[in-house]
Protein backbone atom coordinates (compact mmCIF):
# COMPACT_ATOMS: atom_id res chain seq x y z
CA UNK A 1 0.00 0.00 0.00
CA UNK A 2 1.17 3.53 -0.69
CA UNK A 3 1.32 6.22 1.92
CA UNK A 4 -1.88 7.61 0.51
CA UNK A 5 -3.65 4.27 0.57
CA UNK A 6 -2.61 3.66 4.17
CA UNK A 7 -3.97 7.01 5.19
CA UNK A 8 -7.23 6.50 3.36
CA UNK A 9 -7.59 3.12 5.03
CA UNK A 10 -7.22 4.70 8.46
CA UNK A 11 -9.72 7.40 7.57
CA UNK A 12 -12.15 4.71 6.48
CA UNK A 13 -11.69 2.77 9.71
CA UNK A 14 -12.29 5.85 11.80
CA UNK A 15 -15.44 6.77 9.90
CA UNK A 16 -17.29 4.12 11.91
CA UNK A 17 -16.80 6.00 15.16
CA UNK A 18 -18.83 9.00 16.14
CA UNK A 19 -18.00 9.13 19.83
CA UNK A 20 -14.61 10.46 20.86
CA UNK A 21 -14.33 7.70 23.46
CA UNK A 22 -14.60 5.07 20.74
CA UNK A 23 -11.89 6.78 18.75
CA UNK A 24 -9.61 6.77 21.76
CA UNK A 25 -10.32 3.11 22.39
CA UNK A 26 -9.49 2.29 18.80
CA UNK A 27 -6.28 4.31 18.94
CA UNK A 28 -5.22 2.41 22.02
CA UNK A 29 -6.16 -0.81 20.23
CA UNK A 30 -3.96 0.16 17.30
CA UNK A 31 -1.09 0.73 19.70
CA UNK A 32 -0.94 -3.02 20.21
CA UNK A 33 -0.04 -3.52 16.53
CA UNK A 34 2.95 -1.22 16.73
CA UNK A 35 6.12 -3.05 15.65
CA UNK A 36 8.03 -2.73 18.89
CA UNK A 37 11.49 -1.29 18.97
CA UNK A 38 14.22 -3.71 19.95
CA UNK A 39 15.39 -3.17 23.51
CA UNK A 40 18.94 -2.47 22.38
CA UNK A 41 17.64 0.56 20.46
CA UNK A 42 15.64 1.88 23.41
CA UNK A 43 18.31 4.37 24.30
CA UNK A 44 18.56 8.10 24.62
CA UNK A 45 19.63 8.82 21.04
CA UNK A 46 16.41 7.30 19.80
CA UNK A 47 14.25 9.16 22.26
CA UNK A 48 11.84 11.78 20.98
CA UNK A 49 11.04 13.67 24.11
CA UNK A 50 7.69 15.33 24.18
CA UNK A 51 6.55 17.39 27.07
CA UNK A 52 4.72 14.59 28.79
CA UNK A 53 5.49 11.16 27.39
CA UNK A 54 8.43 9.42 25.80
CA UNK A 55 8.67 7.94 22.34
CA UNK A 56 11.51 5.77 21.10
CA UNK A 57 11.88 5.47 17.36
CA UNK A 58 14.25 3.33 15.31
CA UNK A 59 14.65 3.06 11.54
CA UNK A 60 16.00 0.09 9.57
CA UNK A 61 16.94 0.41 5.94
CA UNK A 62 16.47 -2.66 3.77
CA UNK A 63 16.15 -3.08 0.00
CA UNK A 64 15.47 0.60 -0.60
CA UNK A 65 12.80 0.80 2.05
CA UNK A 66 12.72 2.16 5.59
CA UNK A 67 11.14 0.10 8.37
CA UNK A 68 10.24 1.81 11.60
CA UNK A 69 9.93 0.28 15.04
CA UNK A 70 8.91 2.31 18.04
CA UNK A 71 7.46 2.39 21.55
CA UNK A 72 6.03 4.83 24.05
CA UNK A 73 5.40 4.87 27.76
CA UNK A 74 1.90 6.26 27.32
CA UNK A 75 -0.91 4.25 25.69
CA UNK A 76 -2.55 6.98 23.66
CA UNK A 77 0.82 8.14 22.42
CA UNK A 78 1.66 4.58 21.46
CA UNK A 79 -1.56 4.35 19.47
CA UNK A 80 -0.80 7.54 17.63
CA UNK A 81 2.74 6.42 16.95
CA UNK A 82 1.48 3.14 15.60
CA UNK A 83 -0.72 4.93 13.08
CA UNK A 84 2.11 7.08 11.79
CA UNK A 85 4.42 4.07 11.63
CA UNK A 86 1.77 2.11 9.73
CA UNK A 87 1.51 4.93 7.21
CA UNK A 88 5.22 5.45 6.64
CA UNK A 89 6.94 2.16 7.42
CA UNK A 90 8.05 0.09 4.46
CA UNK A 91 8.13 3.06 2.12
CA UNK A 92 11.05 4.45 0.15
CA UNK A 93 13.16 7.26 1.62
CA UNK A 94 11.94 9.61 -1.14
CA UNK A 95 8.31 8.92 -0.42
CA UNK A 96 8.78 9.32 3.29
CA UNK A 97 10.73 12.55 2.97
CA UNK A 98 8.09 14.01 0.71
CA UNK A 99 5.01 12.51 2.32
CA UNK A 100 1.96 14.67 2.81
CA UNK A 101 0.20 13.60 5.99
CA UNK A 102 -3.50 14.43 6.04
CA UNK A 103 -5.12 11.58 7.93
CA UNK A 104 -4.76 13.16 11.35
CA UNK A 105 -6.87 16.11 10.35
CA UNK A 106 -9.25 13.94 8.38
CA UNK A 107 -10.18 11.60 11.22
CA UNK A 108 -10.99 14.63 13.36
CA UNK A 109 -8.23 13.91 15.79
CA UNK A 110 -6.75 17.35 15.69
CA UNK A 111 -9.65 18.84 17.60
CA UNK A 112 -9.38 16.10 20.20
CA UNK A 113 -5.66 15.95 20.62
CA UNK A 114 -4.11 18.30 23.08
CA UNK A 115 -1.59 20.68 21.61
CA UNK A 116 1.09 18.95 23.63
CA UNK A 117 0.21 15.76 21.75
CA UNK A 118 -0.02 17.37 18.35
CA UNK A 119 3.38 18.93 18.89
CA UNK A 120 4.74 15.55 19.91
CA UNK A 121 3.23 13.96 16.83
CA UNK A 122 4.71 16.68 14.67
CA UNK A 123 8.19 16.20 16.05
CA UNK A 124 7.87 12.47 15.42
CA UNK A 125 6.81 13.02 11.82
CA UNK A 126 9.71 15.42 11.42
CA UNK A 127 12.08 12.82 12.78
CA UNK A 128 10.75 10.17 10.39
CA UNK A 129 11.15 12.47 7.43
CA UNK A 130 14.67 13.20 8.58
CA UNK A 131 15.37 9.48 8.33
CA UNK A 132 13.90 9.60 4.85
CA UNK A 133 16.27 12.37 3.88
CA UNK A 134 19.23 10.74 5.54
CA UNK A 135 18.80 7.42 3.74
CA UNK A 136 18.17 9.21 0.45
CA UNK A 137 21.57 10.83 0.79
CA UNK A 138 23.15 7.54 1.81
CA UNK A 139 21.77 5.88 -1.31
CA UNK A 140 23.65 8.25 -3.58
Amino acid sequence: MTIKEQQDAIIEEFSFFTEWAEKYEYIIQLGKDLPLIDDIYKKDENLIKGCQSKVWLHADYKDGKIYFTADSDALITKGLVSMVVRVLSGQSPENIAGAEIYFIDAIGLKSHLSMTRSNGLLSMLKQMKMYGLAFQVKEK
Binding site: A21, Y24, S53, D73, T77
Partner: protein
Protein backbone atom coordinates in the same frame (compact mmCIF):
# COMPACT_ATOMS: atom_id res chain seq x y z
CA UNK B 1 -8.32 33.07 63.89
CA UNK B 2 -10.08 35.59 66.06
CA UNK B 3 -12.05 34.40 69.01
CA UNK B 4 -15.37 35.22 67.41
CA UNK B 5 -14.85 32.83 64.50
CA UNK B 6 -17.20 29.97 64.97
CA UNK B 7 -17.29 26.88 62.87
CA UNK B 8 -20.49 28.15 61.26
CA UNK B 9 -18.72 31.31 60.15
CA UNK B 10 -15.92 29.22 58.76
CA UNK B 11 -18.25 27.42 56.40
CA UNK B 12 -18.35 29.34 53.17
CA UNK B 13 -21.46 29.56 51.05
CA UNK B 14 -19.65 28.05 48.10
CA UNK B 15 -22.58 28.12 45.70
CA UNK B 16 -22.93 31.84 46.22
CA UNK B 17 -19.20 32.47 45.89
CA UNK B 18 -19.01 30.48 42.66
CA UNK B 19 -21.22 33.14 41.07
CA UNK B 20 -18.38 35.60 41.56
CA UNK B 21 -16.28 33.61 39.08
CA UNK B 22 -17.70 33.93 35.56
CA UNK B 23 -15.50 31.19 34.13
CA UNK B 24 -16.98 28.60 36.51
CA UNK B 25 -20.24 29.02 34.65
CA UNK B 26 -18.70 28.06 31.30
CA UNK B 27 -18.84 24.69 29.60
CA UNK B 28 -16.11 22.60 28.09
CA UNK B 29 -17.03 20.07 25.39
CA UNK B 30 -20.64 20.95 26.22
CA UNK B 31 -20.30 19.94 29.86
CA UNK B 32 -19.83 22.13 32.93
CA UNK B 33 -16.18 22.83 33.57
CA UNK B 34 -14.65 21.10 36.58
CA UNK B 35 -11.54 23.12 37.28
CA UNK B 36 -9.03 21.26 39.43
CA UNK B 37 -5.93 23.03 38.16
CA UNK B 38 -5.85 25.77 40.76
CA UNK B 39 -2.23 25.22 41.70
CA UNK B 40 -1.28 26.19 38.14
CA UNK B 41 -3.47 29.28 38.26
CA UNK B 42 -6.70 30.24 39.99
CA UNK B 43 -9.74 31.73 38.36
CA UNK B 44 -10.61 35.39 38.90
CA UNK B 45 -13.61 36.86 40.72
CA UNK B 46 -15.59 39.77 39.31
CA UNK B 47 -14.07 42.44 41.58
CA UNK B 48 -10.66 41.67 40.08
CA UNK B 49 -12.03 42.01 36.55
CA UNK B 50 -13.81 45.21 37.54
CA UNK B 51 -10.63 46.65 39.01
CA UNK B 52 -8.91 46.06 35.66
CA UNK B 53 -11.73 47.58 33.69
CA UNK B 54 -12.07 50.59 35.94
CA UNK B 55 -8.40 51.25 35.81
CA UNK B 56 -8.33 51.27 32.03
CA UNK B 57 -11.58 53.12 31.45
CA UNK B 58 -11.28 55.74 34.20
CA UNK B 59 -7.74 56.49 35.33
CA UNK B 60 -5.08 54.66 33.36
CA UNK B 61 -1.88 56.66 33.53
CA UNK B 62 1.77 56.20 34.34
CA UNK B 63 2.62 56.45 38.02
CA UNK B 64 4.98 58.29 40.35
CA UNK B 65 6.34 61.06 38.23
CA UNK B 66 3.13 62.66 37.05
CA UNK B 67 1.66 65.93 38.23
CA UNK B 68 -1.67 65.50 36.48
CA UNK B 69 -4.86 64.15 37.91
CA UNK B 70 -4.92 60.71 36.27
CA UNK B 71 -1.35 60.05 37.20
CA UNK B 72 -2.11 60.87 40.82
CA UNK B 73 -5.13 58.61 40.82
CA UNK B 74 -3.08 55.79 39.35
CA UNK B 75 -0.23 56.34 41.78
CA UNK B 76 -2.56 56.38 44.76
CA UNK B 77 -4.29 53.19 43.64
CA UNK B 78 -0.97 51.48 42.95
CA UNK B 79 0.40 52.39 46.37
CA UNK B 80 -2.90 51.46 48.02
CA UNK B 81 -2.48 47.99 46.51
CA UNK B 82 0.93 47.76 48.10
CA UNK B 83 -0.60 48.67 51.46
CA UNK B 84 -3.28 46.02 51.05
CA UNK B 85 -0.68 43.34 50.44
CA UNK B 86 1.46 44.56 53.31
CA UNK B 87 -1.60 44.36 55.53
CA UNK B 88 -2.57 40.92 54.28
CA UNK B 89 0.77 39.36 55.19
CA UNK B 90 1.31 41.64 58.20
CA UNK B 91 4.52 43.21 56.94
CA UNK B 92 6.12 45.69 59.29
CA UNK B 93 6.57 48.22 56.50
CA UNK B 94 4.87 48.87 53.19
CA UNK B 95 8.21 49.35 51.51
CA UNK B 96 9.07 45.73 52.25
CA UNK B 97 6.57 44.81 49.52
CA UNK B 98 8.17 44.74 46.08
CA UNK B 99 5.98 44.29 43.04
CA UNK B 100 7.51 41.73 40.71
CA UNK B 101 6.32 39.66 37.77
CA UNK B 102 5.65 36.59 39.87
CA UNK B 103 7.22 34.05 42.18
CA UNK B 104 9.91 33.15 39.67
CA UNK B 105 10.90 36.77 39.20
CA UNK B 106 10.90 37.35 42.98
CA UNK B 107 13.21 34.42 43.62
CA UNK B 108 15.52 35.45 40.78
CA UNK B 109 15.70 38.92 42.27
CA UNK B 110 16.86 37.54 45.61
CA UNK B 111 19.21 34.96 44.09
CA UNK B 112 20.80 37.67 41.97
CA UNK B 113 20.96 40.57 44.41
CA UNK B 114 21.42 38.74 47.68
CA UNK B 115 23.73 36.28 45.93
CA UNK B 116 25.88 39.00 44.44
CA UNK B 117 26.52 40.50 47.85
CA UNK B 118 26.40 37.61 50.28
CA UNK B 119 27.33 34.40 48.45
CA UNK B 120 30.95 33.64 47.72
CA UNK B 121 33.28 30.84 46.77
CA UNK B 122 32.86 27.75 48.92
CA UNK B 123 29.57 28.95 50.37
CA UNK B 124 26.42 26.88 50.24
CA UNK B 125 22.78 27.47 49.39
CA UNK B 126 20.33 25.06 50.95
CA UNK B 127 17.11 24.12 49.15
CA UNK B 128 14.90 21.05 49.37
CA UNK B 129 14.24 18.05 47.15
CA UNK B 130 10.68 19.15 46.50
CA UNK B 131 11.39 22.60 45.09
CA UNK B 132 9.77 23.98 41.98
CA UNK B 133 12.26 24.68 39.18
CA UNK B 134 11.80 28.35 40.00
CA UNK B 135 13.40 27.75 43.37
CA UNK B 136 16.19 25.58 41.95
CA UNK B 137 17.52 27.11 38.74
CA UNK B 138 18.09 30.69 40.04
CA UNK B 139 20.22 29.23 42.82
CA UNK B 140 22.10 26.98 40.41
CA UNK B 141 22.89 30.02 38.29
CA UNK B 142 24.25 32.10 41.16
CA UNK B 143 26.09 29.15 42.72
CA UNK B 144 27.77 28.42 39.41
CA UNK B 145 28.75 32.04 39.00
CA UNK B 146 30.09 32.39 42.53
CA UNK B 147 31.67 28.98 42.95
CA UNK B 148 29.18 28.08 45.66
CA UNK B 149 27.45 24.73 46.16
CA UNK B 150 23.76 23.88 46.08
CA UNK B 151 22.74 21.49 48.85
CA UNK B 152 19.45 19.66 49.00
CA UNK B 153 17.34 18.63 52.00
CA UNK B 154 16.11 15.11 51.17
CA UNK B 155 12.56 13.86 51.62
CA UNK B 156 11.11 10.64 52.91
CA UNK B 157 8.81 8.32 50.97
CA UNK B 158 5.74 10.22 52.14
CA UNK B 159 7.10 13.39 50.63
CA UNK B 160 8.02 15.12 53.89
CA UNK B 161 11.37 16.79 54.56
CA UNK B 162 13.87 14.73 56.52
CA UNK B 163 14.40 17.22 59.28
CA UNK B 164 17.28 15.31 60.83
CA UNK B 165 19.12 15.64 57.53
CA UNK B 166 18.27 19.32 57.47
CA UNK B 167 19.94 19.69 60.86
CA UNK B 168 23.10 18.13 59.49
CA UNK B 169 23.10 20.22 56.33
CA UNK B 170 22.57 23.47 58.19
CA UNK B 171 26.13 24.57 58.81
CA UNK B 172 27.85 27.91 58.88
CA UNK B 173 28.71 27.49 55.22
CA UNK B 174 25.07 27.99 54.31
CA UNK B 175 24.40 31.58 53.31
CA UNK B 176 20.68 31.23 52.66
CA UNK B 177 17.98 28.58 53.01
CA UNK B 178 15.35 28.66 50.26
CA UNK B 179 12.43 26.28 50.68
CA UNK B 180 8.87 26.00 49.60
CA UNK B 181 6.16 26.52 52.18
CA UNK B 182 3.78 24.15 50.41
CA UNK B 183 4.84 21.71 47.69
CA UNK B 184 3.00 22.26 44.42
CA UNK B 185 3.45 18.60 43.43
CA UNK B 186 2.82 16.84 46.71
CA UNK B 187 0.74 19.25 48.75
CA UNK B 188 3.15 18.84 51.65
CA UNK B 189 3.15 21.72 54.13
CA UNK B 190 6.71 22.09 55.36
CA UNK B 191 7.66 22.92 58.96
CA UNK B 192 8.86 26.35 57.99
CA UNK B 193 8.65 27.72 61.53
CA UNK B 194 11.20 25.16 62.65
CA UNK B 195 13.39 25.74 59.60
CA UNK B 196 13.40 29.48 60.18
CA UNK B 197 14.12 29.17 63.90
CA UNK B 198 17.05 26.83 63.33
CA UNK B 199 18.48 28.88 60.48
CA UNK B 200 18.18 32.09 62.47
CA UNK B 201 20.01 30.47 65.36
CA UNK B 202 22.97 30.45 62.97
CA UNK B 203 22.11 33.91 61.55
CA UNK B 204 21.18 32.38 58.22
CA UNK B 205 18.31 34.07 56.39
CA UNK B 206 15.41 32.06 54.94
CA UNK B 207 13.46 32.57 51.74
CA UNK B 208 10.04 30.97 51.56
CA UNK B 209 8.48 30.11 48.24
CA UNK B 210 4.88 30.80 49.23
CA UNK B 211 3.40 30.37 45.75
CA UNK B 212 1.23 27.51 47.03
CA UNK B 213 0.67 28.83 50.56
CA UNK B 214 -0.54 32.40 50.25
CA UNK B 215 -3.93 31.45 48.81
CA UNK B 216 -4.60 28.64 51.29
CA UNK B 217 -3.65 29.81 54.78
CA UNK B 218 -3.09 32.92 56.87
CA UNK B 219 0.44 34.19 56.63
CA UNK B 220 2.03 36.55 59.13
CA UNK B 221 5.52 37.43 58.02
CA UNK B 222 6.42 39.00 61.33
CA UNK B 223 5.37 35.98 63.36
CA UNK B 224 6.97 33.64 60.88
CA UNK B 225 10.03 35.89 60.88
CA UNK B 226 10.87 34.85 57.32
CA UNK B 227 13.46 37.02 55.62
CA UNK B 228 12.06 36.76 52.11
CA UNK B 229 8.73 35.53 50.83
CA UNK B 230 7.82 35.10 47.18
CA UNK B 231 4.40 34.56 45.67
CA UNK B 232 2.38 35.07 42.47
CA UNK B 233 -0.76 37.12 41.93
CA UNK B 234 -2.26 34.72 39.42
CA UNK B 235 -2.33 31.88 41.95
CA UNK B 236 -4.26 33.98 44.49
CA UNK B 237 -7.18 35.12 42.31
CA UNK B 238 -5.28 38.05 40.83
CA UNK B 239 -4.10 38.62 37.27
CA UNK B 240 -1.12 37.12 35.48
CA UNK B 241 2.09 39.12 35.26
CA UNK B 242 2.21 40.39 38.83
CA UNK B 243 3.78 38.93 41.94
CA UNK B 244 5.28 39.90 45.24
CA UNK B 245 8.60 39.77 46.92
CA UNK B 246 8.42 40.49 50.59
CA UNK B 247 11.81 41.16 52.11
CA UNK B 248 12.90 42.39 55.49
CA UNK B 249 13.95 45.99 55.25
CA UNK B 250 17.45 45.28 56.52
CA UNK B 251 18.12 42.76 53.76
CA UNK B 252 16.53 44.75 50.98
CA UNK B 253 18.54 47.79 52.00
CA UNK B 254 21.76 45.80 52.08
CA UNK B 255 21.25 44.25 48.66
CA UNK B 256 22.43 45.82 45.40
CA UNK B 257 19.75 46.61 42.82
CA UNK B 258 18.64 43.96 40.34
CA UNK B 259 17.41 45.71 37.22
CA UNK B 260 18.29 49.29 36.30
CA UNK B 261 16.01 51.88 34.80
CA UNK B 262 13.36 54.48 35.43
CA UNK B 263 11.93 54.83 38.95
CA UNK B 264 14.67 52.82 40.66
CA UNK B 265 17.13 55.66 40.73
CA UNK B 266 17.42 58.86 42.66
CA UNK B 267 19.96 60.55 40.50
CA UNK B 268 21.58 59.57 37.22
CA UNK B 269 24.65 61.01 35.66
CA UNK B 270 26.83 59.19 33.19
CA UNK B 271 29.51 59.12 35.85
CA UNK B 272 27.52 57.98 38.86
CA UNK B 273 24.03 56.82 39.67
CA UNK B 274 22.45 56.77 43.11
CA UNK B 275 19.61 54.40 43.77
CA UNK B 276 16.19 55.19 45.06
CA UNK B 277 14.77 54.10 48.39
CA UNK B 278 12.73 51.00 49.00
CA UNK B 279 10.55 49.76 47.45
CA UNK B 280 11.43 51.67 44.27
CA UNK B 281 15.06 50.54 44.24
CA UNK B 282 13.77 47.14 43.09
CA UNK B 283 11.02 48.35 40.77
CA UNK B 284 12.79 49.45 37.62
CA UNK B 285 10.66 50.73 34.75
CA UNK B 286 6.94 51.22 34.46
CA UNK B 287 5.42 48.65 36.79
CA UNK B 288 2.42 46.49 35.99
CA UNK B 289 0.09 49.16 37.33
CA UNK B 290 -3.17 47.47 36.41
CA UNK B 291 -1.84 44.14 37.62
CA UNK B 292 -0.88 45.54 41.02
CA UNK B 293 -4.22 47.28 41.45
CA UNK B 294 -6.13 44.16 40.44
CA UNK B 295 -4.01 42.09 42.82
CA UNK B 296 -5.05 44.53 45.52
CA UNK B 297 -8.66 43.80 44.58
CA UNK B 298 -7.93 40.06 44.83
CA UNK B 299 -6.54 40.55 48.33
CA UNK B 300 -9.68 42.49 49.27
CA UNK B 301 -11.72 39.59 47.94
CA UNK B 302 -9.77 37.06 49.98
CA UNK B 303 -10.04 39.22 53.07
CA UNK B 304 -13.78 39.61 52.66
CA UNK B 305 -14.22 35.92 52.10
CA UNK B 306 -11.94 35.29 55.04
CA UNK B 307 -8.66 33.43 54.79
CA UNK B 308 -9.52 31.29 57.81
CA UNK B 309 -12.82 30.34 56.24
CA UNK B 310 -11.05 29.59 52.97
CA UNK B 311 -8.58 27.37 54.78
CA UNK B 312 -11.31 25.56 56.67
CA UNK B 313 -13.46 25.04 53.59
CA UNK B 314 -10.56 23.79 51.51
CA UNK B 315 -9.37 21.43 54.22
CA UNK B 316 -12.79 19.84 54.35
CA UNK B 317 -12.93 19.50 50.59
CA UNK B 318 -9.46 18.01 50.40
CA UNK B 319 -10.26 15.53 53.16
CA UNK B 320 -13.30 14.45 51.16
CA UNK B 321 -11.30 14.16 47.94
CA UNK B 322 -8.60 12.22 49.73
CA UNK B 323 -11.14 9.78 51.13
CA UNK B 324 -12.88 9.24 47.82
CA UNK B 325 -9.62 8.83 45.95
CA UNK B 326 -8.36 6.36 48.54
CA UNK B 327 -11.22 4.08 47.57
CA UNK B 328 -10.21 3.97 43.90
CA UNK B 329 -8.61 0.56 43.26
CA UNK B 330 -4.88 0.64 42.53
CA UNK B 331 -4.68 4.38 43.07
CA UNK B 332 -1.60 5.46 44.97
CA UNK B 333 -0.88 8.89 46.31
CA UNK B 334 2.38 10.58 45.43
CA UNK B 335 3.06 12.56 48.54
CA UNK B 336 1.21 11.62 51.64
CA UNK B 337 2.55 13.88 54.36
CA UNK B 338 0.59 14.56 57.52
CA UNK B 339 0.20 18.29 56.86
CA UNK B 340 -1.05 19.07 53.39
CA UNK B 341 -2.73 21.86 51.47
CA UNK B 342 -3.98 22.65 48.00
CA UNK B 343 -3.02 19.70 45.85
CA UNK B 344 -3.31 15.92 45.71
CA UNK B 345 -1.05 14.01 43.35
CA UNK B 346 -1.67 10.42 42.40
CA UNK B 347 -1.17 7.63 39.88
CA UNK B 348 -3.61 4.87 38.97
CA UNK B 349 -2.17 1.41 38.34
CA UNK B 350 0.21 1.52 35.42
CA UNK B 351 -1.70 4.22 33.63
CA UNK B 352 0.48 6.99 32.30
CA UNK B 353 -0.56 10.31 33.84
CA UNK B 354 -0.66 11.87 30.40
CA UNK B 355 -3.22 9.32 29.21
CA UNK B 356 -5.39 9.76 32.27
CA UNK B 357 -5.22 13.54 32.11
CA UNK B 358 -6.20 13.55 28.48
CA UNK B 359 -9.26 11.40 29.05
CA UNK B 360 -10.29 13.37 32.14
CA UNK B 361 -10.13 16.48 30.00
CA UNK B 362 -12.63 14.90 27.64
CA UNK B 363 -14.97 14.54 30.62
CA UNK B 364 -14.45 18.32 31.08
CA UNK B 365 -12.31 17.81 34.16
CA UNK B 366 -9.18 19.95 34.15
CA UNK B 367 -6.30 18.40 36.08
CA UNK B 368 -2.62 18.83 35.50
CA UNK B 369 -0.30 16.00 34.52
CA UNK B 370 3.43 15.75 34.24
CA UNK B 371 6.33 16.77 36.42
CA UNK B 372 4.76 20.06 37.59
CA UNK B 373 8.11 21.78 37.16
CA UNK B 374 9.61 19.54 39.82
CA UNK B 375 11.65 17.12 37.72
CA UNK B 376 14.14 16.21 40.45
CA UNK B 377 11.23 15.21 42.66
CA UNK B 378 9.79 12.96 39.97
CA UNK B 379 13.17 11.32 39.65
CA UNK B 380 13.27 10.61 43.36
CA UNK B 381 9.91 8.87 43.10
CA UNK B 382 11.07 7.35 39.81
CA UNK B 383 7.88 8.24 37.97
CA UNK B 384 7.29 10.12 34.71
CA UNK B 385 4.92 12.48 36.46
CA UNK B 386 1.67 12.51 38.37
CA UNK B 387 -1.94 13.42 37.93
CA UNK B 388 -2.53 16.42 40.16
CA UNK B 389 -5.89 17.69 41.29
CA UNK B 390 -5.57 21.03 43.03
CA UNK B 391 -8.34 22.75 44.84
CA UNK B 392 -9.80 26.11 45.64
CA UNK B 393 -12.58 27.01 48.06
CA UNK B 394 -14.89 27.38 45.06
CA UNK B 395 -14.65 23.70 44.22
CA UNK B 396 -17.40 21.38 45.43
CA UNK B 397 -17.81 17.82 46.62
CA UNK B 398 -20.00 17.20 43.59
CA UNK B 399 -17.03 18.11 41.44
CA UNK B 400 -14.89 15.65 43.36
CA UNK B 401 -17.50 13.01 42.60
CA UNK B 402 -17.20 13.89 38.92
CA UNK B 403 -13.46 13.38 39.16
CA UNK B 404 -13.92 9.94 40.69
CA UNK B 405 -16.40 8.99 37.99
CA UNK B 406 -14.04 10.29 35.35
CA UNK B 407 -11.17 8.22 36.68
CA UNK B 408 -13.35 5.11 36.66
CA UNK B 409 -14.45 5.68 33.10
CA UNK B 410 -10.92 6.44 31.92
CA UNK B 411 -9.66 3.29 33.58
CA UNK B 412 -12.05 1.19 31.61
CA UNK B 413 -10.56 2.61 28.43
CA UNK B 414 -6.95 2.55 29.53
CA UNK B 415 -6.57 -0.72 31.37
Amino acid sequence: MTKTDTIAELNLDVERLRKDFPILQTKVYGKPLVYFDNAATTQKPLPVLQALEQYYTIYNSNVHRGVHYLSQQATEAYEAARRKIAGFIHAAHEHEIIFTKGTTNSINLVAYSFGRKFIGKGDEVLISAMEHHSNIVPWQLICEEKGATLKVIPINEKGALKMDEFDKLLTEKVKIVAVTYVSNSLGTVNPVEEIIAKAHALDIPVLLDAAQAIQHMPLNVQELDADFIAFSGHKMYGPTGIGILYGKEKWLNAMPPFEGGGDMIKNVTFAKTTYNELPFKFEAGTPDISGAIALGAAVDYIQQTGIHAIQHTEEELIAYAYERLSAVPSLRFIGDAARRAGAISFLVGNIHPFDLGELLDKYSIAVRTGHHCTQPLMEIFNIPGTVRASFSFYNTKAEVDELIKGIEKARRILE
